[in-house]
Amino acid sequence: MEILEQIAARLERGEDQEVRSLTQSAMDQSLPAPKILAEGLLAGMQVVGDRFRAHEIFLPEVLLAARAMSAGVEILEPHLGKTDLHSRGKVVIGTVKGDLHDIGKNLVGIMLSGAGFEVIDLGKDVSPQQFVDTARESGADVIGMSALLTTTMPAMKQVISLLKEQGLDSSVRTMIGGAPVTGDYAREIGADGYGFDAANAVESARELVG
């Protein structure tokens, strides 16, 4: 089997050690790093994503594959251009002001990281100002907000308003989620995206960063 196919296959099985050493072997064979990334690591990750959506594999397998992906990327990193590596984008996430429920938000963070996003997790009870400041300072592509209470949901709208006030709404996109949050509510408050579960949040984030 060709080495890139082997990398993809090992990644699908979540074998991080093997992915690391195979990636190194591919480098030793003078294969270009972007090719190893695209046809080895990302190709494997694509299969994992498809199988997850088809319910053939579950969350743990996805996360293990993501870990294996990171192991390969570590080897490639010095040889990749900045655009190759951070193509997935940067997401600031947090549970909104007044809300202390963070299990769903944490799962979204884990899944986003697994899918190759750079995640800045502000935790819970995050003020609109914190969201906006962090996004500006870090150059984030997306702000992801979570709420479990209907009483704290309005804080999401405040973040969106603040982004507009500060002229950041064209560069920073917003996405929301949480048990009481709906796609209709997202449209109502002008959020750019919505995720009904963690896997769906990853899909939304992908669409937002294009």
């Binding site: 319910h55 743990p60 996360l63 293990l64 884990i110 048990a179 009904f196 769906n200």
Partner: protein
């Protein structure tokens, strides 16, 4: 620890058995088959020609119980073992002998034809948690005289799983045995690797008809397993109390054990039944009634006490559609059956008492069977002690989603049902079409039928089955068997 259900204590079981023996000794059974009567008489039973009843010496009954094996295995058409009918092992099989099918397109119950049975057999072959097939209903497009053997023929042609079946006449047993011999090759091989279970039903109260008694004797002679299906109806053709009807069930079933074990000592039998409550408001025999399910569980406790493997018609419903009643009655029955350790559980797929089969319900019931199979595996520690290291890992990593412990035990500790069972959150469910259970079940039926792969039975054997069945059909005036889908 295996979770377990118990309705009767030892003292009550012994009293019920003792009262049943007393019935056999004093009142006896009405037996309408001369060979059976002669066999019993030869071994010391008393025959009252005038009253047409045979009374049994108590010792004869207990000797027969001793001879009955404590279990047996079943094998598919390819000769691979599928069933281990011992101890508290639980195997599910579709309900059988229905006379209608629930048509998913029209929502009505209609008379089934050949291709309904073909499709049901294909579907059963794909049900992970239903390990046997059954001759689930009759096909109306063949003559009545071959409707029993024709069911078995289609099952053996399209499915690989062993078959729970039965003969409607004395004559049709011969062809049904020939069909089995075609699959197994020799009588010796068939006896060594049983392929079917024949239901043999005494008639309440305390009677064996000519046909069922002869079927019993024929099965015994060929070492074909039987399940005795005694059917007291509480308050009608049986005492209104559960204990009273248990006495009747025990007497009728023990008389069957005697016949089988006299005919061929050691032949495989199941201590089965289909007793039912009798709902005097509607003059019906509800299989979903809790008393029906309780008496099923209770008689299997008696069977286990006697050391004989067990069977029951439970895990089915009286509902007329695939509705909440269908789900609740079937789930309750399946749960109680599994907790009772009933070895062969007949019922999945059935509605309308024991009259109607629904393909969509079979798909749903397959999920129920999967859930209860998980349940009876019980709760066991799996690398859980000492507990602290795993909790340290959780605190360190923030979660256990990819912990070794999770990866190792996720799929064995948790049963993941198929797409019929809705577990997505509301928005996802809406995005995926806001489907009802019925719609999802129908979609699954279509998917399974599309993915069906033909039985691996060799083509020459299939050809022989077709020749045997065609010849039988011709004998009964049908020149050509109905066309079948491939």
């Amino acid at each position: 620890m295996r979770p377990r259900l118990q309705f009767l204590d030892k003292e009550l079981i012994e009293r019920i058995v003792s009262e049943a023996l007393d019935l056999l000794v004093t009142l006896g059974m009405e037996i309408q088959n001369d060979s059976a009567v002669a066999l019993l008489a030869d071994h010391g039973a008393s025959v009252d020609q005038e009253r047409g009843r045979v009374t049994f010496p108590g010792s004869m009954v207990m000797e027969a119980v001793e001879k009955a094996p404590s279990g047996f295995a079943l094998y598919d058409v390819l000769g691979n073992q599928t069933h281990d009918l011992y101890d508290d092992k639980v195997h599910f099989t579709p309900g059988s002998s229905g006379i209608t099918v629930l048509d998913a397109d029209s929502g009505t119950m209609r008379t089934p034809v050949t291709n309904d049975l073909v499709r049901f057999t294909k579907l059963t072959s794909r049900m992970e948690h239903i390990e046997a097939q059954s001759t689930a209903f009759i096909a109306s497009d063949v003559p009545g005289a071959i409707q029993d053997s024709y069911r078995l023929f289609l099952c053996l042609l399209y499915g690989e799983k062993p078959v729970v079946t039965g003969a409607f006449t004395i004559e049709s047993y011969g062809l049904m045995q020939d069909l089995q011999l075609a699959v197994r090759g020799t009588a010796r091989e068939l006896a060594a690797k049983p392929l079917t279970i024949f239901s043999c039903c005494p008639t309440a109260p305390l009677k064996w008809s000519d046909v069922t008694a002869q079927n019993l004797l024929d099965c015994a002679a060929d070492s074909v397993p039987v399940e005795y299906v005694s059917m007291p109806l509480l308050g009608f053709m049986g005492p209104v109390t559960i204990v009273g009807s248990l006495v009747q069930h025990t007497a009728e079933t023990l008389s069957g054990v005697v016949l089988s074990q006299l005919a061929n000592p050691g032949c495989p039998v199941l201590y089965g039944g289909s007793p039912a409550a009798f709902d005097i408001r509607y003059e019906t025999t509800p299989m979903g009634a809790i008393e029906t399910q309780m008496i099923d569980c209770a008689y299997t406790e008696i069977g286990k006490h006697l050391g004989i493997p067990t069977q029951a018609y439970i895990a089915l419903s009286d509902a007329k559609a695939l509705d909440a009643q269908a789900g609740l009655e079937t789930s309750m029955g399946a749960t109680l059956a599994a907790l009772s350790g009933i070895n062969s559980v007949s019922g999945p797929g059935m509605l309308d008492f024991e009259r109607c089969i629904s393909m969509e319900k079979l798909v749903v019931d397959n999920e129920i069977c999967g859930l209860v199979q998980r349940m009876i595996r019980g709760i066991e520690p799996k690398e859980d002690f000492p507990a602290a290291p795993l909790f340290e890992e959780m605190l360190r990593e923030g979660h256990l989603l990819i912990a070794d412990h999770t990866r190792k035990h996720l799929r064995s500790e948790h049963h993941f049902p198929g797409p019929v069972i809705e577990r997505a959150n509301l928005p996802r469910w809406q995005e995926e079409g806001s489907t009802t259970l019925g719609e999802r079940a129908h979609r699954e039926v279509q998917r399974h039928l599309g993915e069906y792969e033909p039985s691996r039975l060799p083509d020459d054997v299939k050809k022989e089955l077709v020749e045997l069945m065609s010849a039988e059909a011709r004998r009964h005036g049908m020149e050509k068997l109905p066309d079948r889908e491939s």
